[in-house]
Amino acid sequence: MSRLLFFFLLLLNTALSFAQSSFKLKYKNSAVYAGIDIGSKGVKLSVLEIGKNQKTGSFNVLQESSVNTDFINFTDPSFHATLNGLCSLYTVASKQYQIPSSQIFTVISSGVKMQAEKEDKKNWIRLLIDSFKIRIADPSRKVEVIDVLQEARLSHLGIIPEARRYNTFLIDIGSGNTKGGYFPNGNTRDLKLFQVNWGTKTVANATEKRMDEDKSISNYNRQLYRVLAGEPNAEIIYAVNVSGAYNMSDNIAVSGGIAWSVATLLYPELMDNVVVPVTYADVVKFSENLVTHFSSYSDTAIVRSVGALDIDKNLVASEVKRVNQVFDQKALMSGTGLLLRIMRQFEGIYEKKQFYLVKNGQVGWISAYVDQNIGK
C-alpha cells in the first residue's frame, strides 16, 4: 500500500512540476489558493485562482488532484493512507506550487463527519487532525470539520454568482443522494436545505435489480421508467414542495457528475464554460437519444457536430471520452432520468424557470470555503 502511494506521489510530483509552469491565470488581479478536503472516498487538492476584485462565485480551477483512501472505513490502513495522502498533497501545494501556508486550507467534509457520528468514530477524525499537525510541524494549523448544512451553503456560495444568489436553487445530484438548497431570506445565513435519498447510482442499481434476464437497453429503459415513477418521484415531489423553491427561484442550477456529463455531451461547443443554460425539452430529447441514437454521443460524432465552430476539437474529444469512461449508456440513462424528474417539478406551463448545468460543482464548496477564509 505504502509502495503504491509512494509511486503515486512520485507520479503526482512529476505531473505537478510540469503543471506548475503551465498555469494559465484567467483574471488580471488574482491570487492562487489551495483547498484540501478529506472526503468519504479520499483526499482532494484543488488549486484555485481567485480574482481580488472578483465577486464570490468567480473562481478559476487551476489544478485538481485526488487520492482514493476510503477514510470512512475507519481501519488502520485507510487511516494511514488518508494521513499520507493529506500530508503529501499539502507538501505538493506548499513546495511544488509554493503556495504560502496561510493560503492553503484544510477541511474535513460533511460525509466523513456524518459517518463518524453514525459509527461513533469521531476520535478517528481527531486523531487524523492531530497526526497531520505533527507531521507538517504546524500545531496551529486549522482543520475544520463541516456539516451538511455548511457544505450545502458553501456549495451555493462557491458555485452561484452573487447576482443570482437569492433567486437560484442549487441541486447537487450525487451517486448516492441528491441535496441542495437556496437562500430564502435574502441573506446567506439561512439556507433552506433540500434532500432526496436517490442518486444516479441508487437509481441505476434499483433498475438493474428489475432487469431479470433481459439485459437489453429497451428493457433497461422500461424498468428505469418504473423505478423513477415509484419512490424517487414521490420523494422528489415532496422534497420540492416542502422546500418552497418553486415560488422562490427563477433559476435552477444542477451540479454533480450527471450534470457535467449531460452538459458536455449536449453542448460540446460550450466546452470552456463551467456552466451551461439548458431547457427541459433539450434534456428530454437527450434522454430519448440516449436510447435510440447513443452512437451520436461518441467522441467522433460530437467532434463532427461542432466542426464549423472555432473551438479546440482535441479538448472536446478528450472530455467526451472522459464522460463516456465515467458514465456508460445505462448510467447516463439513469442519471438523466433522475435529472428530468427533478427538472419536471420546476417546468411550469406559464412560469418557466431557467435551468443551468454546472460542470465544476465538485470544487464549489471548497472554493467558497477558501474564499470566505481569505484574510481571516
Partner: protein, 306 residues
C-alpha cells in the same frame, strides 16, 4: 332414281368431309399436345445457349433450339418494350408452328432441308429475342441500381439531418424554427467605464453597453427571446460570464451568444432594449454586434474603440 343417287352422293361427301375434318382435328390436337408436352418435359428453362450443329438430326435440332428459349420468362421481363416484343414473339410462334409441322410431317429430304433452313431462321429469331431480353434485363438492372442509389442518397441525407438535430443545443430542428417577427433599428453600442467617462477608449472602459429598438406589427407575445452576439476585433466572442452566454442554432450551424434578452411585447410598440457586457479588458478595434431571433440575423451594428 336420280334423286336417290344424288342423296347418296351427298351423304358420302358429307361423311368424307366429316372424316377428313375429324382426322384434321385429331392431328391438330395430337400435335398441339405432343408439342406442349415436349416443351415442358424436354425444355427445363435452359439459360445457356445451345447452338445445334447442322449435322444433328432435325427433331433434336428443333428441340435444342426450343430449349434455349423460355417464352414465359422473356415475356415477363420484357414488359417495358411489350408491343415490340409481342410482335417479335408472334413471328417466332408462327415460324415455330411451321417448323413443327414440317418436322413431323416430312416426307422427303427437300422438306427436311427446308425445315433445317426454317430452324436456322428460328434460331436467329430466338437469338434476337434473347439479346433483346438481355438488353431489357440490363436496362432493368441499370434502372434498379439508379433507383437504389437515389434512395440510398436520400436515406443518407436523412440520418445526417437527424444527427444534426440530435446534437442541437436547442431542441427544435432548423426547419421547425419559426420565422423572426421583429425588426431591429437604432443599434447602438458604446464602451463605458463605471469610474470615469471613457469616450470609447478601450483602455479606460470596463464594459460594453448596447441598445436597440424592436418593433413588430404581427404578434404580441410574452417571453420573446433575442440572442446578442458581440464579436471582438479578433473575431472572438465577448461575454461577461458563463451564466450569461450559451449557444443557439442557426441555418449555418451552432453559434455562441454573448447574452440573451427575454422580454414581453405589445403589438406595434417600439420597444427599446439594452444590454451590457462586463469585460476584464477591452482591446482596440472594431466591435460587431449581431442580434438574432429564432436563429436568424435581424439586426447588426458596430463600434470602433480607440
Amino acid at each position: 332414281m336420280r334423286y336417290k343417287k344424288l342423296s347418296l352422293l351427298l351423304v358420302i361427301s358429307l361423311v368424307f368431309f366429316l372424316v377428313v375434318s375429324l382426322f384434321l382435328i385429331c392431328t391438330w390436337f395430337y400435335y398441339y399436345f405432343y408439342d406442349s408436352k415436349k416443351e415442358t418435359v424436354q425444355v427445363p428453362g435452359v439459360k445457356t445457349s445451345v447452338a445445334p450443329k447442322s449435322t444433328e438430326p432435325i427433331p433434336k435440332m428443333y428441340t435444342a433450339s426450343m430449349g434455349t428459349f423460355d417464352s414465359t420468362e422473356t415475356a415477363e421481363k420484357g414488359d417495358s418494350l411489350q408491343a415490340d416484343f409481342n410482335s417479335k414473339l408472334n413471328e417466332f410462334y408462327k415460324l415455330r408452328n411451321e417448323v413443327t409441322s414440317m418436322v413431323h410431317n416430312s416426307t422427303g429430304p427437300k422438306d427436311l432441308e427446308l425445315a433445317r433452313q426454317k430452324i436456322g431462321s428460328l434460331q436467329e429469331k430466338i437469338e434476337a429475342l434473347r439479346s433483346r431480353t438481355v438488353k431489357i434485363e440490363y436496362e432493368n438492372k441499370r434502372l434498379n441500381a439508379l433507383l437504389l442509389q437515389l434512395s440510398n442518397e436520400l436515406k443518407g441525407q436523412q440520418p445526417t439531418v437527424r444527427h444534426k438535430s440530435v446534437n442541437l443545443p436547442r431542441a427544435a430542428p432548423v426547419e421547425n424554427i419559426p420565422a423572426p417577427v421583429f425588426t431591429i433599428s437604432d443599434v447602438n453600442i458604446n464602451a463605458v467605464s463605471d469610474k470615469e467617462p471613457s469616450d470609447n477608449d478601450a483602455e479606460k472602459s470596463g464594459k460594453i453597453e448596447g441598445s436597440f429598438t424592436v418593433r413588430n406589427n404581427v404578434s404580441q407575445e410574452h417571453g420573446n427571446e433575442l440572442m446578442v452576439v458581440v464579436l471582438q476585433p479578433d473575431g472572438k466572442l465577448l461575454h461577461s460570464s458563463d451564466w450569461e452566454s450559451g449557444s443557439f442554432e442557426t441555418s449555418e450551424g451552432k453559434k455562441l451568444y454573448s447574452t440573451r434578452i427575454v422580454f414581453d411585447y405589445n403589438k406595434g410598440e417600439a420597444k427599446k432594449l439594452s444590454f451590457f457586457i462586463v469585460a476584464d479588458e477591452l482591446s482596440k478595434g472594431e466591435y460587431v454586434v449581431q442580434i438574432y431571433q429564432h436563429g436568424v440575423l435581424v439586426g447588426k451594428g458596430s463600434k470602433t474603440l480607440f
